[in-house]
Amino acid sequence: MSNIAENSNWTWIIRPKKGWFDLELKEVFKHKDLLVRFIRREFLGTYQQTILGPVWIFLQPLLTAFVYILIFGRVARGAGDGPPDGLPNLIFYLSGIIIWNFFSESIILTSYTYINNVNIFGKVYFPRIITATAMTLAQFIKFAIQLGLFLLVYIFFMIKEPGLRPNEWLLLLPIALINTTLLSLGLGIFFASLTAKYRDLHNLMLFGIRLFMFVTPVLLPMSFFDKHSEWKWIIVINPLTPIIQVFRQGLGGNAVFDGGLFLYSTIVSIFIFMASVLVFNKIDEKVMDVV
């Protein structure tokens, strides 16, 4: 139309590198419908071509919980006094397992962002963070369903055991869940950036996650670690510990719980998330050359 305005109002610029803080948030926001679509596809796609289909969402944590009760229930009991953290066995294990599964599965699946999407990433551009976020959020939906089931089991136990009552700590659960999401999405995209180029780091990551489970109070209650204090500091600095503990505390657990550690976990989660977003965004400019 007007050639006077020429050379000034470019709407996009492609440069060899982008700045660390050039996050293209506008572009990301424009693709919000794509995010929803990807979440749906990922969530529904997981249970296609399985016999039991969505039943697995319930079955998997239940089976895991029974196995843990069989194997670790004794250890936990032998180490301490009575039920773990003052909760019924099933409630103790299920609460840890569903949070842990959400955390670990999100990281693993999100870390495959580039490897699983080479084809589409090589042909069209849209902010890659959309795919990664969709992976984690699809896991979150699965987790939310499991949480619903878990609450039913909890109500059953409340009727059975009159001493079992939730308390005000449970109000922190939404924040705890946001922290878990930020933490797993953050770590997921961080590993996605690393493994895109150096694939063998993937095995290292899987190994690391398995080890990480042992320094998170999933299998053993805090009271166990109180007795083995030489290891306790690792459990304490683990940002996932307060998340699981605040949940169990809110359900009526009796472990020693420090609200300050929960604040610490929140700050660490936000920090890891933001730092990872910057790394992911920066690495992204080169990934398609090497994948």
């Binding site: 109002n9 679509r37 042909k123 080169k286």
Partner: protein, 430 residues
């Protein structure tokens, strides 16, 4: 009269060769060290296509390309395989970034880089339309408004709720094209996709593209091997050769120099170093050439000339059951035939293969061939695309009698004409 919507300023793109060979981490560290710790001034100078040090082990897919595109233009991008077209389009559609240089632009870009880009086989046509629109950054509401037009244009009304994996490739392209053009991007990038659709749909697409550029002032970047389409559709064209922009001007002029270039240089291709040769970790091409049967000196091929397609390549697999397929295409990208060798067991090393094409078979015109290497009759090892270009010329004697014949092939099949009965009575001849 109209404003510049894309300004490409000296872009180059370098790819490292042999990234699989494992020293990338070391390389990365070295470059990082030079740049950040040693603060070497010329560390950045390494990233320069003119630097001789950067010419071994690196492949410059693009070298200092600059051009402008104005609003409403249809720009044809022409060049042989490996000239850098795809790299350029990938950079323009933000899939990869340039190594140096800068591109500025105005308006939303939609790119159709390959058939069914962003299509998901398990999803239905309907879901795929939404998926593609979303990828382009459209909201579901915007897509819903265009939905009916897209379906009608693509002609897939009946199949809209069928998973696209059951679509024919023609339907696939139609849908992909319809989505891209109806979602009204200001700039469209189209790479070769039209070659797949039938000719009727090609015409429909070309007309739609022309309409988009003329009436709605939209800009189109168009890559094609179909020189006729480039000439009739584009308002301007650029020619790329080994990553450099060698010509920028009227489509007729650019097409002419493209054709004369491929005629002269693509009858033979040779690579001396195994690392530079096209291929992968199973097959590396050493040499391809076309040899007329009559004499090694004659390089022109007429409709009567029989010729051989000769291949030499490194086989990097110890024991291999190998089959080779040759695909012969017209310059417009239509596949004329596929011919397949007998499977044969070979050892690692240099292998030679040849295929004889008889005379009196291909009609006049420009052709190219692609070669597919297959392992155990099942697994695709390497598809060497567009490895030879050649022109079949008119035979001088022939033209006097018949003029140009129709069709892509002009075989001589046994043909007899006999007098069955003679007319006896006079007056029956009119």
């Amino acid at each position: 009269m109209s404003e510049t919507v894309i300004h490409v300023d000296k872009i180059s793109k370098v790819f490292k060769l042999g990234t699989i060979s494992g020293n990338t981490f070391k390389e990365d560290l070295r470059l990082w060290w030079l740049k950040n710790v040693a603060k070497k001034k010329d560390a950045m100078a390494l990233l320069n296509p003119d630097n001789p040090e950067m010419n071994s082990g690196y492949n410059w897919a693009l070298r200092n390309i600059s051009f402008d595109v104005k609003k409403g233009e249809v720009l044809g991008i022409v060049g042989t395989n490996g000239a850098g077209k795809s790299t350029l389009l990938k950079i323009l559609s933000k899939v990869i970034r340039p190594t140096t240089g800068e591109i500025k632009g105005k308006g939303r870009i939609a790119s159709l880089l390959e058939v069914g880009t962003g299509f998901h086989g398990e999803l239905t046509g309907r879901e795929n339309i939404f998926l593609n629109g979303n990828i382009l950054g459209m909201s579901n509401r915007e897509i819903r408004k265009k939905f009916d037009d897209i379906v009608t244009f693509a002609g897939v009304e009946k199949f809209i709720d069928t998973p696209v994996k059951r679509y024919s490739s023609g339907m696939y392209v139609r849908l992909a094209f319809a989505v891209a053009i109806y979602l009204e991007p200001e700039i469209m990038i189209i790479d070769e996709v039209l070659a797949v659709g039938d000719s009727e749909f090609q015409k429909k697409c070309l007309a739609k593209m022309r309409e988009a550029s003329e009436k709605e002032d939209r800009t189109v970047l168009f890559v094609s091997h179909n020189m006729q389409a480039v000439q009739s559709l584009c308002t301007r064209a650029i020619l790329l050769r080994s990553g450099q922009l060698v010509e920028n001007g009227s489509p007729a002029k650019v097409v002419k120099s493209y054709l004369s270039f491929i005629k002269n240089s693509y009858i033979q291709n040779q690579w001396d170093s195994i690392n530079q040769a096209p291929g992968n970790d199973m097959i590396r091409i050493k040499k391809v050439n076309l040899q007329p049967e009559i004499s090694e000196l004659i390089t022109s091929i007429t409709v009567k000339t029989a010729f051989r397609i000769k291949l030499e390549f490194w086989n990097l697999i110890e024991k291999l059951n190998l089959t080779i397929c040759i695909h012969l295409f017209t310059s417009a990208g239509e596949l004329i035939f596929e011919t397949t060798s007998q499977p044969r067991n070979v050892q690692g090393g240099i292998i030679e293969a040849e295929c004889a094409i008889p005379g009196d078979f291909l009609n006049t015109g420009l052709y190219y061939i692609s070669v597919l290497f297959v392992k155990d009759n099942a697994e695709e090892m390497f598809y060497f695309e567009e490895c030879l270009f050649f022109e079949v010329e008119q035979d001088d004697e022939d033209v006097v009698h018949f003029g140009k014949r129709f069709g892509y092939i002009r075989p001589r099949f046994p043909f007899t004409i006999k007098q069955k009965e003679a007319l006896v009575e006079t007056g029956q001849y009119s």
